[in-house]
C-alpha cells in the first residue's frame, strides 16, 4: 500500500457508518447517497437533519433564474447541505466536495493534497532508505 501510494493517491470508494466522524480524503454527494441517508433508521442524524432543513428552503429569485421547480431546488439544497456538513466535519482541509453525480462513489481529491501526500511518502521512503543504508554500513563495519 505504501509503495502504491508513492505513485498514486488511493481513495476508498465507500462511505461506511464508521466513516462518520473520520477525516475523509474527499466526498461526493449524489441523489442515491441522499436516499441512503434518509433510509437509514439509526445513523447519520446530523445529515438527516440537514436534509429536513432543505425541505424548508425557498428562494423564488433563484427558481425564476434557473427555471427549476421548488422540489428540484430543495433536493439540490439538501445535497449542498450534506456536502457542507461533510466538508465541515469529515473532509480533510484541502479535500473537495463533489456536488451531485451519477455515481455514488467517492471521487477526486485536490491536487494540492495529492502533492502533499506524495511529498510525505517520499520523505518517508527516503528516511527508510537512509536508515537501511546506515544499518548496512554498520553491519559491514562489524563484519570487517
Amino acid at each position: 500500500m505504501d509503495a502504491l501510494e508513492r505513485f498514486s493517491c488511493v481513495i476508498c470508494d465507500s462511505l461506511t457508518l464508521a466513516s462518520e466522524g473520520q477525516r475523509l480524503k474527499s466526498a461526493s454527494v449524489s441523489r442515491r447517497l441522499l436516499a441512503g441517508i434518509m433510509a437509514n433508521p439509526t445513523s447519520f442524524g446530523r445529515m438527516k437533519f440537514s436534509i429536513e432543513q432543505a425541505r424548508m428552503y425557498q428562494n423564488e429569485d433563484l427558481g425564476i433564474r434557473s427555471g427549476f421547480s421548488k422540489t428540484q431546488l430543495q433536493v439540490t439544497k439538501a445535497m449542498v447541505n450534506v456536502a457542507g456538513l461533510l466538508l465541515e466535519s469529515s473532509v480533510e482541509q484541502t479535500g473537495r466536495v463533489g456536488a451531485d453525480g451519477i455515481i455514488d462513489s467517492f471521487s477526486a481529491r485536490c491536487s494540492v493534497l495529492g502533492a502533499r501526500c506524495s511529498r510525505l511518502t517520499t520523505t518517508d521512503g527516503s528516511l527508510r532508505r537512509c536508515l537501511s543504508r546506515w544499518i548496512r554500513a554498520w553491519l559491514r563495519t562489524r563484519r570487517g
Binding site: 500500500m1 505504501d2 509503495a3 502504491l4 508513492r6 505513485f7 498514486s8 493517491c9 488511493v10 481513495i11 476508498c12 470508494d13 465507500s14 449524489s30 441523489r31 442515491r32 436516499a35 438527516k48 429536513e52 425541505r55 433564474r65 434557473s66 427555471g67 427549476f68 422540489t71 428540484q72 431546488l73 433536493v75 439540490t76 439544497k77 439538501a78 449542498v80 447541505n81 456536502a83 457542507g84 466538508l87 479535500g95 473537495r96 466536495v97 463533489g98 456536488a99 451531485d100 453525480g101 451519477i102 455515481i103 462513489s105 471521487s107 477526486a108 481529491r109 485536490c110 491536487s111 495529492g114 521512503g125 527508510r128 532508505r129 537501511s132 543504508r133 544499518i135 548496512r136 553491519l139
Partner: protein, 255 residues
C-alpha cells in the same frame, strides 16, 4: 447535477450556477467544489463554460478514448473511468474485440481457456493518461472499479485510484520489499513495484490524435460508450425521479 439535464448543455450550466449559489449561501468556497456530470456531449460543452467561470468539473462515465479526448480538450478538471464496467461490457459482448491493435490469437487463446482475458479498461487508462500529459490541459485522471489487487497495482501512477474497501485492506496487508531489510540487498530504491504510468513515460509515448466534435461524438463513443453511457444516465434519471417523492414524503413524515 440533475441527470435529467444530461443532454441539455444550457440546463447543466444553469444547474451549475444554482449549486454554486447554494454553496456560497452555505459558506462553501468555490475552489472546494467539483461539479460532477456524466460525460455526454452536452456535459462536455457545459463543462467548458463552467471551467471558464472558475467552477471545476468532474466528468464520469467515460468509456472510450474519443470521449475522453473531447472532455480533456474542453478543459475539464477531473476525468473518471470505471475499468470494471468496461471489462463487464466485454464479458457480456464476447464478439467485441478487446484489443484491436493486438494479435487476434491472444484473444482466441484466452477464450479457449489457455490464457487470461485482459481487461481493456487498463490500457485505456494508460492511453488517456498519455494524452493528458501531451495536451498540457492539467486534467486529473481517476481510475475506479478495479476488482482485483492486480488491476490496482497495474495502474500505479494514475493520478487517483478509487478502490473498494476489501481490496484496500488486502493491499494494506501485502508486503513489498520496501521497509524490509534482510541485510542482503544493496539497493535501497527497489521496492518491488514500478509505476505503470509516469510523466516521463508519457512524454516518450506515441499519442493518437483524434478530433471530436458534436457531429462525430457518437462515433467516438463507440458501441461500448453508447451502451454504458445511456444505461448510466437512464439509471440516474430513475434515481432522481424516485428520490423526489421519497424526499417530500419521508422527510415530511418525520416532522
Amino acid at each position: 447535477m440533475d441527470p435529467r439535464l444530461a443532454q441539455d448543455a444550457a440546463g447543466l450550466r444553469k444547474n451549475g450556477a444554482v449549486i454554486l449559489s447554494m454553496c456560497l449561501e452555505n459558506g462553501i468556497p468555490k475552489e472546494r467544489i467539483l461539479i460532477q456530470m456524466p460525460a455526454t456531449w452536452a456535459a462536455i460543452e457545459a463543462a467548458k463554460g463552467l471551467e471558464l467561470e472558475g467552477l471545476q468539473t468532474h466528468l464520469v462515465d467515460v468509456y472510450s478514448y474519443g470521449q475522453a479526448v473531447a472532455a480533456i480538450d474542453s478543459g475539464v478538471s477531473v476525468l473518471q473511468l470505471n475499468v470494471g464496467r468496461i471489462n463487464d461490457w466485454y464479458d457480456k459482448n464476447p464478439g467485441a474485440i478487446r484489443d484491436p491493435s493486438g494479435p487476434r490469437e491472444t484473444q482466441a487463446m484466452a477464450k479457449a481457456g489457455f490464457a487470461e482475458l485482459a481487461n481493456p479498461g487498463l490500457p485505456l487508462v494508460n492511453k488517456i493518461y498519455n494524452y493528458i500529459h501531451h495536451s498540457s490541459k492539467g486534467t486529473k485522471l481517476i481510475a475506479s472499479g478495479m476488482r482485483t489487487k492486480k488491476e490496482v497495482v497495474s495502474l500505479a501512477g494514475c493520478d487517483y485510484l478509487v478502490v473498494g474497501e476489501q481490496i484496500l485492506n488486502s493491499l494494506a496487508k501485502t508486503s513489498t520489499l520496501e521497509g524490509y531489510n534482510d541485510g542482503l540487498h544493496a539497493s535501497g530504491n527497489d521496492d518491488g513495484m514500478k509505476a505503470a504510468m509516469s510523466p516521463d513515460q508519457a512524454a516518450g509515448a506515441e499519442v493518437e490524435r483524434v478530433r471530436v466534435d458534436a457531429s462525430n461524438f457518437k462515433d467516438a463513443l463507440g458501441l461500448i460508450g453508447s451502451d454504458l453511457l445511456d444505461a448510466d444516465v437512464k439509471r440516474a434519471v430513475e434515481d432522481a425521479t424516485r428520490l423526489e417523492p421519497i424526499f417530500l414524503n419521508r422527510v415530511g413524515g418525520q416532522e
